[in-house]
Amino acid sequence: MEKWRVIDTGLRSAAQNIALNRALLEARQAEEIPSTLRFLRFTPSALLGYHQSAEQELNLDYCRAHGVEVQRRITGGGAIYFDETQIGWELYLHKRDVGTTDMQAIARRICHAAATAISVLGVDARFRPRNDIEVDGRKISGTGGAFDGNALLFQGTLLIDFDVEKMLRVLRIPAEKLSDKAIASARERVANLKELLGRQPDVALVKSYIVEAFESEFGVEFSDGDLTLSEHARYQGALREIETPDWVHLVTRPLSDMPILEAAQKFPGGLLRASVTFDTGTQTIRQVWFTGDIFVSPRRTVADLEAVLRDLPIGRLASRIEEFFARRPVDMLSLTPNDFLTVVRLALKQPLLAHNP
């Protein structure tokens, strides 16, 4: 059976962890190391996706005042808050390990395996397209990937315990006011193992399940290892580039190009509010949060709708909402799919009003 390596690089700063991402991906690309599973932890950090801008995604004043390190990942996806209460897992693979060239299929396969590992603990974890792993509509693991030539890095978080309020303060997400309602609404969208299990999970056990799930998925056997000399050398080189303001601010876009727009409307089915993070340059909805005094069953419908509206050009909004509701039975009393469309469109009108008072 093919042998892959598992390493645990412990608690580190974001710059060190990301320099290790670069080092291991390069080493895998150069065929200096076997395919590898790495576990890692972070001191408090706000991590941008590779193409994101710190100004648009983070509350930088808060990060500065509270010692939250701001860093840029080499992987795609959205900004996350990462601290000691989460663990990270990462796979460094060669394209021939995954048996397909379809990048979305690769992400799906890895996420399914990770979800299986989490489910063994006694929670019903599943992959939700757009690369999140969720439990009953609540995100428990966010993921992202990077490729370089024939090498792939796919990484995920796993929320063992989680400070939702801190996340709300660090990230610029569509719930700007730090009201109890905003915190409650964030809690509906993220889950952590401690809360779901009603006890502190045994992290060593969690890791062993993750190892077993990937062994079974890829038909390989993992053995413990350490960083090699070539990885150390590559790491030192990468850290010199990554631990700099130039790297963190590699992409800068003004805050004004990505407003958070809000609207609320009373429908016969109840009050529905939409907060929309909108990229005015590409005319794309980055993220929507729906809240309000509404009844929707199953409960996870709203979270699923928010997931399919991520990174959506506004031209496709109406058809995406229509397709979403056409595909599933939903009980919303007198609320209609069109009400969701109406309230998002209302929110999107806000910048026009601002520019043309």
């Binding site: 996706g49 590779y50 193409h51 080499i74 992987t75 795609g76 996806g77 060239t101 379809d102 990048m103 979305q104 992400a107 757009r130 690369n131 993921t143 992202g144 990937g145 990077a146 490729f147 370089d148 030539g149 992409v251 340059g281 590409t282 990174d311 050009p313």
Partner: protein, 146 residues
């Protein structure tokens, strides 16, 4: 010309994995873009970033990076060059790379060597078509425009 629905243009120049195409432009410049194979493998492209005009790019250092479905990675570069311009239409609407891969150029570059010399390691015409077809069939790549 096409194979498995993957369009091929014989007048362009390609790398050996058929990830990128290169077109000869006026004034000794070259345009670089992604092939139909590449855009299919990537899936819907959400971000494109091109280095600033004037940035030198040695062979092996990417001219651009792309992101699709949370995967970020380089658009490879095969010859020593300097970035002259980014295609702002593509920066604003990255989905053009999926919809019109051969019209949506990503960057214009000035090769350090004369164009024919810079392109000497790339494939074109019949040789490129044979390799392109072989790649589609070997990896069972079926192209779709998203």
């Amino acid at each position: 010309m096409e194979c498995n629905g993957c369009e091929f243009r014989p007048e362009l120049y390609y790398d050996r994995d058929y990830q990128i195409w290169v077109r000869i432009e006026e004034h000794g410049l070259l345009a670089v873009g992604m092939t139909d194979i590449s855009q299919t493998i990537a899936g819907k492209i959400l971000h494109v970033r091109v280095r600033k005009p004037g940035t030198p790019r040695p062979a092996g250092k990417p001219v651009a990076t792309i992101e699709s479905g949370k995967w970020a990675g380089p658009v490879p570069n095969l010859f020593d060059c300097t970035i002259v311009a980014a295609n702002h239409e593509v920066l604003d609407t990255p989905g053009l790379l999926n919809a019109q891969p051969y019209d949506a150029w990503i960057a214009r570059v000035q090769p350090a060597a004369p164009p024919h010399e810079a392109l000497s390691a790339l494939l074109t015409g019949e040789a490129a078509w044979a390799g392109y077809r072989a790649r589609c069939l070997r990896d069972d790549i079926r192209c779709k425009r998203i």
